[in-house]
């Protein structure tokens, strides 16, 4: 097609300018995609939550604990098909910078509630046989180069003292967004030591994980659990695993909001870059468009050329930006593994980036289009470059 050829040649009339514009767009589109991916990764944990799990914790605050005796009572509620408990351990491995989540969990019941953790049966048996055994996620093992049988010492913060462990199991996630960075130690190991060293803190757990058969019953069952302990010395707050996880995320929500604002600003920058280039071409080509109109081309033809060129540049920049997004995302994933258990560019991010490029391509053409259409032919012919 002649028209496409003309658009193509117009685009690369100033190769350096076109190249810089496309590069600018590519970088901005990539930044947009990476920022969006950062935000969605922030919520990835919550997205991986199972609708079949509820979490019961202290109504006062996350740092308050609940008596383990509640477990028996909760398990009797109709619709509850499984229950276990967990306690945040918060130990340090060598240096506080080496942060990773650690939970003391019930060996017999906890892992069963997480079908998305894939672990060899014999590793599970080993975990149950030894009190200081741990099961850790694949990515955590990779991060510190740990393998089965390794001895690891953590220094307690919430629970003082040195704690020695042996790695007996390594799980991998069944889903792409399964968190593979968690350290599971045995609750009885923690509890027995507490009983002798700090008896007041024994028999306490941070949360109960309640498995339910029917997700549509989650609200009713949550209410029932909380009602059961109302007016007791340790009132409970029960919610779905998803909203439980979101309550962590929202602690940092102002950062997330900031990132979202930046991602919108980045689109604004793309618009400025392309808008500037298109405004320059509009000025330079006024006399050419006037000549075309003299030859009998109508304003719509000229508009097509301008919008076509703007969209073409936007498409090239957008495509290049998205192409580099994937390798960059992998680099970020590698560098930020401690922060983001999952760092994956989501399809919606790609769709948004494509839509944004398209919209920017159209918007950048508005001014040149108006200028070309509104300038009378004789006016355009008078302008001599």
């Amino acid at each position: 097609m002649k028209v496409l050829k003309l658009i193509f040649r117009n685009t690369f009339r100033h190769p350096l300018r076109a190249g810089l514009t496309i590069l600018g767009l590519a970088i901005a589109v990539m930044a947009f995609a990476i920022i969006r991916t950062t935000v969605s990764s922030w919520y990835a944990g919550a997205q991986a939550a199972s609708p079949n799990r509820l979490v019961t914790r202290s109504a006062v605050s996350l740092v308050f604990t609940l008596p383990i005796a509640y477990e028996e009572k909760i398990s009797k509620i109709e619709g509850v098909t499984g229950i276990s408990h967990a306690m945040w351990f918060g130990g340090i491995y060598v240096d506080p910078k080496n942060f990773f989540p650690q939970f003391a969990v019930d060996g017999d019941t906890y892992i069963d509630l997480y079908p998305e953790y894939i672990i060899a049966p014999e590793q599970m048996e080993d975990f149950l046989k030894q009190k200081n055994a741990v099961i850790i996620g694949r990515r955590l093992a990779d991060r510190f180069g740990w393998s089965l049988g390794d001895q690891v010492r953590l220094t307690g913060t919430i629970f003082p003292g040195d704690w020695d462990f042996v790695i007996r199991g390594i799980y991998s996630g069944a889903e792409e967004n399964t968190d593979e960075t968690i350290w599971h130690m045995r609750y009885d190991y923690l509890d027995e030591r507490m009983r002798t060293e700090m008896p007041g803190r024994a028999g306490q757990v941070g949360s109960f994980i309640v498995q339910i058969a029917d997700p549509s019953q989650s609200a009713a069952i949550s209410q029932q659990i909380d009602a059961m302990f109302e007016n007791s010395s340790a009132e409970t707050l029960t919610e779905t695993e998803e909203s439980f996880m979101l309550s962590f995320v929202s602690m940092a929500s102002s950062i997330v909001t900031g990132l979202q604002i930046i991602s919108v600003l980045v689109i604004g920058i793309i618009l400025l870059v392309l808008g500037n280039t298109m405004a320059m071409t509009a000025r330079e080509r006024i006399s050419e468009y006037a000549v075309m109109k003299t030859l009998g081309f109508r304003p719509l033809h000229v508009v097509g050329l301008i919008i076509g060129e703007s969209l073409f540049i936007a498409a090239l920049g957008g495509a290049m930006g998205l192409l580099v997004t994937f390798p960059i995302a992998r680099l970020v994933q590698a560098a930020m593994a401690d922060f983001f258990p999952v760092f994956k560019v989501e399809p919606i991010t790609l769709v948004l980036a494509v839509l944004a490029s398209f919209a920017v391509g159209l918007m950048a053409a508005v001014f040149p289009t108006l200028k070309a259409v509104r300038t009378p032919i004789v006016e355009g012919l008078r302008i001599i470059d």
Binding site: R9, K293, G296, I377, V378
Partner: protein, 226 residues
């Protein structure tokens, strides 16, 4: 008495700058018969380009009628005017005004993209037009690879490729050396005699004007008596 191709009746044109009216053409009346080769002379700023633009329908008179063939150019809508122009008018500019990103062939082909001609028919017509102006061997050259005289010949090929009735040329030799100007004038004469094109040509060059059948002078927006 040959048919009249162009007829101007009481054409008045002024421009407005802020709230100041600048009269450019005063009550122009004249007729140009089919097959005429007319040279329009006059000092700079006398309104020659404006007159040409009005006849081409790329500008509108403030008052008066402009008839080209059967059409009252001043009354056509913008889009019918564009269509009419692409069939009837061939325009030649002083500075050639070729598209720099298109080859000689593609520049000449440009007006044909508005017709229903297919690729092969277009190619035949472009080759014919470039043959007439003697540039068959420069078809793949870009404007910046051509001399000024060659560029103007490409522009002439572009103006005649649609086989228009009327050719309007605004100082076609104004930017050329003597020899190139001579070649262009030779070509204009051929277009008039061999291809029977009606030509209105603005020029400053008395030697160019000598090629024309008729020379008219414009001064301060008024046409001097013939």
């Amino acid at each position: 008495m040959p048919d009249t191709l162009v007829k101007l009746e009481g054409v008045y044109k002024s421009y407005w700058r802020d709230s100041l009216e600048i009269p450019v053409l005063h009550n122009i009346d004249f007729e140009i018969p089919k097959g005429e080769f007319l040279a329009l002379m006059g000092p700079s700023g006398s309104g020659k380009t404006t007159l040409l633009n009005l006849i081409a329908g790329i500008d509108r008179p403030s008052r008066g009628r402009i008839l080209v063939g059967q059409e009252n150019v001043a009354e056509l809508s913008e889009s019918s005017l564009a269509r009419w122009r692409s069939r009837i008018i061939g325009f030649i500019f002083q500075l050639y005004n070729l598209m720099p990103v298109l080859t000689a062939f593609e520049n000449v082909e440009l007006p044909l993209l508005l017709t229903r001609l297919n690729r092969r028919e277009r190619r035949r017509q472009v080759e014919t037009a470039l043959g007439i102006v003697g540039l068959s061997d420069r078809m793949k050259h870009y404007p910046n690879q051509l001399s000024g005289g060659q560029e103007q010949r490409v522009a002439i090929a572009r103006a005649i490729v649609t086989d228009p009735d009327l050719i309007l040329a605004d100082e076609p030799t104004g930017d050329l050396d003597k020899q190139s100007a001579e070649d262009i004038m030779e070509l204009m004469t051929r277009l008039n005699q061999e291809f029977e094109k009606t030509i209105i040509m603005v020029t400053h060059d008395p030697r160019a004007a000598k090629r024309a059948h008729v020379v008219r002078h414009l001064d301060k927006g008024e046409l001097e008596a013939a």
